[in-house]
């Protein structure tokens, strides 16, 4: 489903991150772990097409990621890959319900074809739907971001530090949901994390060194 071969990322022409070859199969749940600065978030960004590699090949659905370049294919790419990135934010002028439904509006999809009701119930955020994003706690915010990433039933979920700033209870709730997505909905999950609870729950660990 996803493969990385001889991938490197060069920063400022001298800081080089080299990634070991990696193959992620359909239904995988892989945690990318490593110390700060080891390139976890960079790898997530490379797979999510939020960054470009300096050399090597990244393939998604057996096609080089560079082929997803025209308007139509990039839109399709964003539709089938749910991203919970560090650059994602909630829209202050929308209530939580509209924030979660935004991908449906962007891709002109009907709410009937979405995971909305199901995800809202599973993530226990029904009581938040009419609230504004400013009224949420960190845990609630992370759950809403996850709901938005999953509302279009993507085949792959890519999450960058999904449990950052969460307490133990909220971390466990979120991990349980990731397990549910992987086990029940067969969603392929790639998570960059420094959290042992998350990495231990995943099926595979891809470790990076500094």
């Amino acid at each position: 489903m996803i493969s990385l071969k001889n991938v490197t990322k060069k920063y400022n022409n001298y800081d080089l991150i080299s990634y070991n070859d990696l193959i992620i199969n359909k239904g995988d749940f892989i945690s990318i772990v490593g110390p700060s600065g080891s390139g976890k978030s960079t790898l997530i960004d490379l797979i999510a097409k939020l960054n470009t590699c300096s050399s090597g090949i990244i393939k998604i659905f057996d096609k080089s990621i560079n082929t997803y370049d025209d308007k139509r294919s990039i839109q399709l790419f964003r539709k089938v890959i749910g991203i919970m990135s560090s650059t994602s934010s909630l829209f202050s002028m929308l209530n939580i319900s509209d924030n979660i439904l935004l991908p449906l509006i962007i891709h002109n999809e009907d709410i009937c074809n979405s995971n909305f009701e199901h995800i809202v119930e599973k993530l226990n955020i029904k009581n938040l739907l009419d609230k504004s994003s400013g009224d949420l706690s960190s845990g609630e915010r992370q759950r809403v971001l996850l709901a938005r990433a999953m509302v279009l039933k993507p085949k792959i979920l890519i999450a960058d530090e999904p449990t950052a700033n969460l307490d133990l209870d909220n971390t466990k709730k979120l991990v349980n949901f990731l397990r549910y997505l992987n086990d029940e909905l067969k969603t392929t999950i790639i998570v960059a994390t420094h959290d042992d609870i998350v990495s231990k729950s995943s099926k595979r660990i891809y470790e990076l060194e500094k």
């Binding site: 960079t42 470009t52 650059t87 994602s88 829209f91 509006i105």
Partner: protein, 380 residues
Amino acid sequence: MKFIYFLTKKYLLSIFTDKTLRLPALISIISIFVSVFSLLIVMFVMKGFELKVQNKILENFPHIILSNKPKNNLDNVENIISYSNSLQGYGAYIDGDKFELIKLKAQANINTDSDIDDKNIYYGNVSKDFLLLNNLVKNDYFEIYIPSPNTLKKIKKIKIKIRDEIDNSESIPTIYFSYSQAKNIIFSKEFIEIKLYDPFKSKETINSILDQNNHLKGQIVDWQTININLFNIMKLERLSLGIFLSFLILIASTTIYSNTTSMIFQRKSEIATLLILGAKKNYILAVFVLVSFALSFIGYFFGSILATILTNLLARQEIIEILDINLTFYGIEGFPIIFSYSYFIIISLFTFFMISIASFLPTSFYLNKNIDELIMRDIK
């Protein structure tokens, strides 16, 4: 399209609740409102003034003047209502230290001869203003001095009996005599005054007259030619004011430009999120252009509505009397303002053009060019 409509609506509504965006947005709206309102009102006043002066000229002055007699009868020339022989000269009214220039006119269609009982007294219809200023009433007598080329002194005094008072459209007091009496006191060349059904077809009528009276070439002139300098000055005045006030819209557009720029910078992380969620670049661009355009449109809408309402109010009410404005010099009545569709459309189109540019340029410049930088950590 649903996405564009949805986000445009939400962003637009949020501007009025967001403290940092509210003030610049209000400044943009007010600046467009003030500039559109001012431009429309000024142009409507200029247009109204020009029309009132033009109507006054058409009402009170001949539409065509012939300085020689036609060989053929003018009855069969189209567009002519009436024509009459006329004489025009000047005299002076002197009362102690007071000296007043008076226009003397004669027209064949004015008949004041029927009740003349003294050949040394001239009977005239006199301007109302002149009578009021000099405490004279109907049937009173007064004396004026006129040029007299056949006498030794070259000047003579004549006695005038006021037969009637008239509303004068001319800038100086005027006395109208019967044609037969005027011939003895006005020594200018006789001319023919023509009134037309449609004064705006005066050129065509002149051509028709010349077709039958070729000898009149160079001796025939219409009201448009006589007043060409006046109308040109009014046009120039209108044009220069229009250009000057257009700068207001230009300045207002710069506030829209800066407002749009600050809105985009404040929404950078949201734009990045939209891209990550798969929104098309053109759609995001359209949202911000529409939000900015809609804000400006609010200003335009209220500016044009208020200008239209005020124009109708000023045109209907006797505002001149309320404000005690003296327009007697121009000989016009009521406030010189008129709603002009052509000006309304021109100003609206110009405003739409300017606000479209002011909305599109910053959006295009910052989003079309740099949009990838919002989500890509670095670009090769």
